[in-house]
């Protein structure tokens, strides 16, 4: 797609898609500029616990006396960053294996597909809990476990998309030319499978992001003192029953980003399917 087409697509984008894009850009900006925007240090204890909102502490302080606003901003960096990394890992693993399975076929395809079937027959969160018990809870382990589980979903899609491509004449031609597997996958199949995979990346990111938040909320993912939205909700949850809105803000931050990404993906899928209202 050239610049002109991108411009046209953006002009005709519905308000929901615009809203989504602005939200995503804002989160990226906050994640990169966290140390500049945040008034205090991420782990710095700056006052008494549970201070109310004031000029010094815009959103008050948490149960250890750390500035809520600061931790909310650093959360953009930690939570979103880790979710992005995990999605990327799941994508690399899932799409490489999926494309390979579709191109090679035969025993390898059978083996990988059946393994994926088994993993997908167990609910993702339950499998994640089981695997985390075995390897122990830490950020690295959580990233690897979730990437592994989500890569099965990517594998399914990548394989299904590639299956329709490998039967094309130009793939046959490339095979006859004597091109290697690497060339076939990277130069012939991948460019034609890119569009659905990109849309899937957005959806996958939402799932990974929600899984990581859920695990962190359960106390099994990102651990304090690292600022993270899921565990921030858990730490300060008692305030909610007293009618305080502050602990809801990190959860709201999670929801807002997933809504934004979903709106953009919805629009992209709508465009790709050629549906016009």
């Amino acid at each position: 797609m050239n610049t002109q087409a991108v411009g046209k697509a953006l002009r005709t984008a519905p308000p929901t898609a615009w809203f989504g894009m602005i939200v995503i850009l804002a989160y990226i900006a906050v994640a990169f500029l966290a140390p500049v925007i945040a008034p205090y240090g991420e782990r710095e204890v700056v006052g008494q616990q549970y201070l109310p909102w004031s000029a010094e502490h815009i959103l008050g302080t948490d149960k250890l006396g750390r500035d809520m606003f600061t931790r909310l901003i650093y959360g953009a960096r930690n939570t979103v960053g880790i979710a992005f990394l995990t999605t990327l890992l799941a994508f690399l693993l899932g799409s490489i294996l999926g494309l390979l399975a579709a191109t090679t076929g035969g025993k390898l395809d059978q083996l990988l597909s059946r393994a994926v079937d088994v993993i997908m027959a167990i609910p993702a969160l339950i499998l994640a809990l089981l695997l985390l018990t075995i390897v122990g809870t830490s950020i690295t382990n959580m990233i690897l476990v979730i990437a592994l589980i989500d890569s099965t979903r990517v594998f399914r899609l990548a394989r299904a998309v590639a299956m329709n491509i490998v039967v094309m004449d130009y793939i046959e031609a490339a095979r006859l030319r004597g091109e290697g597997m690497r060339h076939l996958i990277l130069r012939e199949i991948l460019p034609n499978a890119a569009a659905p995979l990109v849309a899937e990346f957005g959806l996958r990111f939402c799932f990974v992001f929600l899984s990581i938040s859920a695990l962190s909320f359960l106390g099994l993912g990102i651990q304090p003192p690292t600022a993270d939205w899921g565990s921030m909700v858990r730490e300060n949850a008692t305030l909610i029953t007293f009618g305080e809105i502050t602990p809801l803000l990190p959860a709201g931050a999670i929801a807002l980003l997933t809504v934004g990404v979903n709106f953009v993906v919805d629009w992209m899928l709508h465009r790709a399917s050629g549906l016009k209202e």
Binding site: A121, I122, L125, I126, T133, C206, F217, T241, L248, A251
Partner: protein, 311 residues
């Protein structure tokens, strides 16, 4: 057709039990050593290994374990040595109660809203519902839960901690678990109604719907009498999928509301690394998930006469 699907379901259950058993085998280190601590003498460890049956080869232990599980014996907890069956008995009942409670509200609600959205498609109602559902799919369960606590429990109508006990009266139990059930309802309703709407709208372009329109059937009759019966298969599928999703959702929601269910036990056991309890809970959740998917496939086959009476 159905027999084949049932057989496939059994194979899936078998493979899952193998996977869950095998995963524990991969546990780094020796369970016996871990329980007894570093101070234990090699003789004690060896004796304890014999007691746990760890000196047997893995495949024998697998069949012994499977046989016990099928008789309802999950072994003992690593953390406190109590029989797991005692730990999970009432909790499993509580979890099923909560999931069922949510399903009883969510399924009729989602079907009604979905049919209405198909009836008034592209109206303001339809668009509002579309945005609402897309938004609620994106919300983490604990966000929905805490918003409900924030909005409703301050009024004092519903308690924010769902502590139930076996001897509690049914009405009291319904009242106490209302907020967790409502949370789960909100989480699953959106997806179900979206799919109901899509399944019905997909059919509206068919010639036989055109025919019904031309003979003067009202829009309501077209949707309810002509489109809905043919849309049943995808709708049943999505309902089962969401009930299966309730199984995962229930874990987080139970923790938020301190509800004494299986999910909460599982989360507690993960942080204690009580592998045998996690194993039992994972097996139960996974089986429920597989069985629901199986039920969905069988029911949607039954709803289609062409598949039941296949040549």
């Amino acid at each position: 057709m159905i027999a084949l699907r049932l057989g496939l379901g059994l194979v899936t259950l078998f493979v899952i039990s193998l996977l869950i058993f095998g995963a524990v085998e991969l546990l780094p280190g020796d369970i016996a050593q871990e329980i007894l601590g570093q101070a234990a003498t090699p003789e004690t460890v060896a004796a304890f290994r014999r007691e746990l049956g760890l000196d047997q080869p893995a495949y024998i232990r697998y069949f012994v374990w499977l046989g016990d599980v099928l008789q309802g014996d999950f072994g003992n907890s690593l953390a406190n040595g109590r029989p797991i069956t005692d730990l999970i008995a009432t909790r499993l009942g509580n979890t099923l109660f909560l999931a069922l409670y949510a399903a009883v509200i969510a399924v009729p609600l989602a079907l009604t809203l979905g049919i209405l959205a198909a009836l008034f498609r592209n109206s303001l109602y339809d668009r509002a519902v579309n945005i609402f559902t897309l938004t609620s799919i994106s919300f983490p369960e604990f966000f929905v839960a805490y918003i409900l606590i924030f909005l409703l429990s301050q009024t004092g109508w519903f308690p924010s901690i769902a502590n139930v006990s076996p001897e509690m009266a049914f009405s009291e139990r319904i009242h106490r678990t209302f907020l967790p059930a409502l949370t789960l309802t909100l989480v699953v309703t959106a997806h179900m109604m979206r799919m109901t709407r899509a399944a019905i709208i997909n059919l509206l372009a068919s010639p036989y719907i055109e025919m019904a329109k031309l003979k003067g059937a009202s829009p309501t009759a077209i949707i309810l009498r002509h489109a809905l019966p043919n849309a049943l298969a995808p709708i049943i599928n999505v309902i089962a999928l969401n009930l299966a999703y309730l199984i995962t959702g229930v874990v987080v929601v139970e923790v938020v509301f301190v509800y004494p269910g299986l999910g909460q036990l599982m989360v507690d056991s993960v942080s204690k690394r009580d592998i045998t309890v996690v194993q039992a809970a994972a097996l139960i959740f996974a089986c429920a998930y597989v069985l629901l998917n199986l039920a969905a496939d069988v029911l949607s086959t039954l709803s289609n006469p062409r598949l039941v009476h296949s040549r």
